[in-house]
């Protein structure tokens, strides 16, 4: 995932959306542009109607951009949750390793008692 901070100059689309530093923004706009091209060109090749193809191109841009945006942000949120769980797990492991509260120790103890 492309995130540019401090090193790259900011590039603000329409003057307000910094695509360099906002996660998923750059990919959303690029995929949106690609979607717009595909839908618009495809419609024109099929129907030879310029005005309607432009309408479809803009609609395709918006739909593709927003669609990829939601998909990417959902994955980002899931990744963040997994990072937090990992961080919490690592901290607990360091804190409780070797102590009576160590879950791995309890598990090993159960296995020994079963055998």
């Amino acid at each position: 995932m492309w995130i540019c901070k401090d090193v790259c100059q900011s590039f603000k689309l329409l003057g307000f959306l910094d695509v360099q530093s906002v996660p998923c923004a750059r990919e959303s706009v690029l995929y949106g542009s690609l979607g717009s091209l595909v839908v618009g060109l495809g419609h024109f090749l099929a129907t030879s109607r310029v005005r309607r193809s432009c309408d479809f191109a803009v609609g395709g841009f918006i739909c593709t951009m927003l669609g990829y945006w939601f998909y990417c942000r959902y994955n980002l949120a899931q990744q963040r949750i997994r990072q937090r769980m990992l961080k919490e797990g690592m901290r607990n492991k360091i804190l409780f390793e070797g102590s009576s509260l160590d879950p791995e120790r309890k598990q090993t103890g159960n296995e020994r008692s079963d055998s």
Partner: protein, 227 residues
């Protein structure tokens, strides 16, 4: 703290601020989509000849009713989610009071010991090299990291506002009223803020500095200060 000419948010240092930054990015993306559509429609209108052939406009009226409703739902749902998240009251580990005066803040930690101190801005002439002008204070608000902190804000004289942008906190300090807010610092560090309600000549010179430390350091600090 903010850099010079910084336009965007400061880096988030609390879970709520992280959510707010994400919501802001989401709102900007929706705004980009709307602006693209409006720009395109504007271009179309400018290229069209004016005519009065339109008799009815059922379809377009349906579109421009449903589309804004969808946009509002896209924005309202995450906004309400964060709003309710901000109002969640977990059992706070620590409660402290921030009292606004002209022109300094005073803090009271009265949970375990009677610990009270004033927090004045360090004047520029007395600032050690490398410290931040108009932001440093003589006594920082020290809080334990990754613990829910409740802060009760009030004022002694006129309206003030206790704000720390990187924690996503801004609470008005109103004389005769106690306003409550809470936050969790996600990492150790020093977080700067400034009074956010006009309160007189030195309104710009009463900053807030929150220092987030591990619990052991917080305990030794509170012991040192109360002794």
């Amino acid at each position: 703290m903010a850099n010079h000419s910084q336009f965007g948010f400061q880096d988030a240092s609390s879970p709520i601020m992280e959510e707010l930054v994400e919501f802001h990015d989401h709102a900007l993306m929706v705004a980009l989509a709307i602006c693209s559509l409006v720009l395109y429609l504007l271009t179309l209108m400018l290229m069209e000849k004016l005519s009065s052939n339109t008799v009815d406009a059922q379809e377009v009226e349906l579109i421009w009713t449903i589309l804004p409703a969808i946009v509002l739902i896209l924005l309202a749902l995450p906004s309400l989610q964060i709003l309710y998240m901000m109002d969640e009251i977990d059992e706070p580990d620590l409660t402290l009071k921030a009292i606004g005066h002209q022109w300094y803040w005073s803090y009271e930690y009265t949970d375990f010991k009677d610990l009270t101190f004033d927090s004045y801005m360090i004047p520029t002439a007395e600032l050690p090299p490398g410290h931040f002008r108009l932001l440093e204070v003589d006594h920082r608000v020290v809080v334990p990291m990754e613990s829910p902190i409740r802060i009760i804000v009030t004022a002694d004289d006129v309206l003030h506002s206790w704000a720390v942008p990187s924690l996503g906190v801004k609470t008005d300090a109103i004389p005769g009223r106690l306003n409550q807010t809470s936050f969790i610092t996600a990492r150790p560090g020093i977080f700067y803020g400034q009074c956010s309600e006009i309160c007189g000549a030195n309104h710009s010179y009463m900053p807030i500095v929150v220092e987030s430390t591990p619990l052991a350091h917080f305990e030794s600090w509170s012991t040192l200060l109360s002794s």
